[in-house]
Amino acid sequence: MPTTFLPQASSYAGDIDFLIGLVAVIVMGWFFAAQALFFGFIIKFRAKPGKKAMYIDGLNPLHKRWVSYPHYAVLIFDVIILVFALKVWTHVKIELPPANDTVGVVAQRWSWTFVHSGADGKLDTDDDVKTADELHVKVGDVVHFEGSSRDVLHSFSIPAFRLKQDLIPGRITTGWFKAEQTGTFDIQCVEICGIGHGMMVARVVVETPEQHTAWLATNAPAAAH
């Protein structure tokens, strides 16, 4: 499970991990059952001198149901996985809960620029705080990000949040997350972007409201702009 090394630091990390666990239980059950049968048959039906193999064409319904019933079961389990997969996907990627804050994420070879909205909570205003390779957000805030790229494809990934979104030049790609744990987590570029791809890393710092306000104050652009 991802949780071995990664905290569930966003509101939907638990949902995604639950889905992964559910799929793991279902498919591994099938996998081991199929393998057990497979190896069982190989051992049981090893050639013995003087013993002929059975002549089964698989057309007799009495024989065929041994394959069709598991087949229907696969269909049922597929539907179960589908329901949960679509539910999680819809929650994480389609729904956009109302924002408490918005940040700009700009990827370029091979670093990240983050635009924080400042005290007014809006991007493209005078109090925006721009940083390189460090994103600051408030714990518990629903944060919308507006991602873009200056050159090639990049992917904005925060594994601790279970968040991943490719960024495409020429478009703004919007998404959201809600950090639920304070701390510092990796932001990784996970789409190959050239020679520096292996070094394209940044941090997200999740702070308490007080810390965040203090950070904004120390980094605010000079008032006389």
Partner: protein, 588 residues
Amino acid sequence: MSNAAPTATAPHAHEPGHAPDGHSHDHHDHHAPQSFFQKYLFSTDHKMIAQQYMWTGVAMALIGGFLAYAFRMQLAFPDKWIPGYGYMSSLEYNTAVTNHGTIMIFWFAMPVLIAAFGNLLIPLMIGCDDMVFPRINRLSYQIFLLSAIILISSFFVKGGGFNGAWTAYPPLSANAEYNMAGTGSTLWVLAVALEFVAFLLGGINFITTAMSARAPGMRLWDMPLVVWMIVIASILFMASVGPLIAGAVMLLFDQNFGTFFFNPERGGDPVLWQHLFWFFGHPEVYVVLLPAMGMSGDIIAVFSRKKIFAYKTLLYTVFATGIISFFVWAHHQFIAGIDPRMANIFTVTTLIISVPIAEMCFLFIATLYGGSIRLTVPMLWALSFVAEFLLGGVTGIFLGASGADIYFHDTYFVIAHFHYTFVPIAVIGFFMGFTFWFPKMYGKMLNETLGKIHFWITILGFNMIFIPLFFTGMWGDHRRIYNYSHFPELHRVALQDLRIVATVGLLIMISAQAIFLFNVIKTFRAKQENPGPNPWHSNTLDWSAPSPPPHGNFAELPTVFRGPYEYSHPERESDFWPQNEPPPGSST
């Protein structure tokens, strides 16, 4: 003996000695001396072309394997000197992973699985003397060889080989300013496009030959699985490759002539390439899977002395898989910035495709039931194909379930997953076909003990590479990173240990191939009595031809009386019943 027939007519299966090609009509009686080039580069004999494809593919696999060795060493021991390679820079790392992927899929899996076995098996198994279009066949190999030479030459131009990953997503792949390998990228695209032309020509031949040159008495439902599967694979390939060839041309134009098909600054769209690529890329998985699956089925039937369980149902699942495979491509793009609602549709289709594939696996397992199983080397390979592919299949569900893919996308979990499909397909597939048809191709038997040692060490090495990679992927390792120490969350001893285990697994797997080569060379050099046309007691027509089959294949072209899987028939003493054996009481 007939006169030279026009090249492009179907050989008449019931007309013995009717060779479809001008220069070959005298081969039954005596071999005219041929120069090296005539024999190895300009042959129109399907078996020679099969071997050309096979050995070119194997040579390319050695290059692809060497690249894997180099970058796995870099991952296990970052920035250390790599024996036989030297130090690896991050750009070289990208070049190595890009060309490893490209070579293994396009220059190893494709030529060996489709072209080599397709060429070798289709005429022999349907009982005719050669492909319907032998000269197109020859041209297909020559174009393929040219494409391989172009790809390899791309390593040696200024800037080095292409480094934008085998998926070649623009703008990185389209702009030399970004990938710093302008010439290399152009040669890469050119090589890939030419290679597709080669397989289009091959595909035309496979489909036409199987449809029009079957031996008298052979209905479509009497064709062995592998022939069916190669035909369906060829149809899938031909139907899906068009968009990608168009995309490759656009990419070539973007790279060299200043067009903007994929450049958003002038109204292009980089995501368009992804659609074109994966519209081909997903059916492509089945294009190479099906021939391997077919060989596995045929070999399992022979060595368990069983009829294939519900042969027709099996083929229906293949048809279904083939059709559905055209509607799943965007599952590679869930988080690529496509409309997220689209992901829902592709999640549904992706999970639907698991249904026929699961059925296929059940039918294979059911075929073993009640068998009389002999674990020969080809059988071990065929069984391991099913066992390993199962893991590749079920782990695909994690990725097809869109919600879970948010986390797994572009991690090593994906790498482990598709290597559990592609290694069984390409590597295991090659070994099962090669060891099974070796007596047919060369009239000699490989050493079984060496074969078993080679099998077990290869399988051990393979699992030792990719089981750890499921875990590194689960714990966050993402792809195409030359050194994880730059990422605090991935710079962990436990993860590094797993990366080292995987590399050791690769070293084991690669060194095991020395046993294989030794076995093959030893067998070629040894004096051995010809094991006869049918050492495995198989039913299909290929085993009624002499080993090795002469130009023209059959002394007398066969007639077919029954399906290919009449093993252990209750009314017969013998446990097999060749397709061409006349029914008792008939006068032939």
